[in-house]
Symmetry: C2
Subunit: 314 residues, 2 copies
């Protein structure tokens, strides 16, 4: 790739996939190496759901799950994410671009610091509940070398979910058994997403796609890194969400499904379909034997599932 590109955030290493829980720095300060760990999700804990959102109106009940790339288990992968209880709830995922490893840079540092900064600026006056401004401030405050894709979603108490995204992390809204809303990934070319960077060559908040969707009670918000969306089809996301009793189970089931597909070389994944649609495929002599490019994409997999509920009090 011409532009070194990175992926997800967790500041500790863990060797198996486990649910991740919203914690504060005071809950578990030693688990967070990032310098502004407030409201950061950064460690493995038993599966739980968290209500994020603290005023009267709608809020999100959130479950999370992270599974690192099989080759990155010891270092905890390169995805990063945070959830916050501000207003109706704030969610963010960043995916450190792995190409930086070739330059002896840990691809996780940029995404982790970016999410730590985003988490710390959630209530900032300048941000004023605008996810693009939050990305701007978080990026400006990030001093690590590297780059990352990022998506941030902020739920207002009136049910409006405002989303800013740079790259191929994404958000989907599931309503009444179907996908009601999806973000669209941005890429320079196949497998090289738009990305915030420490270098001038990267994108900025100005390149973010900014969208809103009016949520309804009982909607489910699914946010993830491309490790989820490259390996799991929309219909599967809908099916999993419908079959799970709670957000933690849904996040875990989605991450596990993505993980299983990512390791399945015969699975005709969204990733392999997209590759073929862009002209990548097996050699011609395999094609005439009826073969085609298939397989999931090994990657860090971050999943945040939020259920919209009404809130009568904090």
């Amino acid at each position: 790739m011409a532009i070194p590109v990175l992926r997800p955030f967790t500041s500790i290493a863990y060797s198996t996939s486990r649910d991740l829980q919203l914690i504060s720095s005071t809950d578990s300060p030693t688990l967070c190496s990032v310098h502004k760990p407030k409201r950061l999700v950064c460690c493995a804990t038993p599966s739980v759901s968290n209500h994020v959102g603290s005023e009267v109106g709608v809020r999100l009940s959130v479950g999370t799950h992270f599974i690192p790339h099989p080759d990155k288990v010891e270092k905890g992968g390169e995805d990063a994410f945070f959830i916050s209880s501000h207003s109706g709830g704030v969610l963010g995922v960043a995916d450190g671009v792995s190409g930086w490893a070739e330059k002896d840079v840990n691809p996780a540092l940029f995404s982790r610091e970016l999410m730590a900064n985003a988490s710390s600026f959630v209530e900032d006056e300048e941000v004023n509940y605008d996810p693009r401004s939050l990305i701007r401030k978080a990026h400006a405050a990030t001093s690590s070398i590297g780059s990352a894709t990022v998506v941030v979603a902020m739920l207002e108490m009136n049910g409006i979910l405002k989303i800013a995204s740079v790259g191929d992390c994404g958000v989907k809204v599931i309503r009444k058994g179907q996908v009601a809303f999806s973000t669209s990934p941005q890429e320079h070319y196949f497998d090289c997403p738009y990305q915030l960077s420490s270098e001038a060559v990267g994108q900025t908040f100005l390149d973010a796609t900014v969208t809103t969707v009016e949520l309804m009670e009982e909607d489910t918000v699914v946010m993830g890194s491309d490790g989820l969306f490259d390996n799991v089809f929309d219909r599967e996301i809908v099916s999993v969400v419908s079959s799970c009793d709670n957000v933690s189970d849904a996040a875990k089931a989605l991450a596990n499904l993505a993980h299983n597909h990512s390791k399945d070389s015969s699975f005709d994944s969204p990733y392999s379909q997209e590759a073929r649609s862009q002209g990548f495929d097996v050699p011609w002599w395999k094609k005439i034997m009826g073969m085609k490019l298939t397989g999931g994409k090994l990657d860090d997999i971050t999943v945040i599932v939020g259920q919209v509920t009404s809130s009568l009090s904090s």
Copy 2:
């Protein structure tokens, strides 16, 4: 289909596909059977582009093209649409549900009246520049028997495009050679979309998915009935938009591409892919011979293409 469902609006019959132009009732009052034809697109004229949007800020330069279902050419099809110059521009498409023909109801009447009403309420104080409110008022004022899918998009001068959609008409935003935003279709089951109806069994404005996307200068907005999106892939829409010099050419090229694909029984269209993903396919004995369900979908095809430009004056 359990629920009779309808499709597009033109109030005159024409036998070949031609570009449709924004006209007012004073321009060509006899061409419009709808009772509030102000700002309605309703007749075949030479290809043109129109600037819709009348204040300082951003506005849309719009081109349109409509091709009726081959079996519905004489009656002008069942799609309907309008464009308005209010604020940054307002676009709407409705698709009369063809199932009503089985009940001896002209499926075009509901969609035409719905779009006529929507057009007349664009500047209504109660609507207050909210596309869902516009759908609510237009639906309430529609007395024809029938039903239709509908999408309405209203561009504010600050660049925010607000969209409300019931069913499988859609909007895409093309930015820098890729799809930056897409609406998601709503359906009860395969080929039976959510729809506004004259009957209590149908959907209402409350079922609309409401989204916004912040447009940038040079973005291209593509709105259409499912006749476009069932027959043309995103990558083809991007390619056509990129290759055309103006919005009228783009609308015409997209509609022609959709029309050609719709008649091609060997084309593996978005429609046939969706059908297969939902379990519809050729019989098993054809499958073991390597055959699969393919083909476009014969349908009315409405395309509206809007280019975002800055506006220094009206």
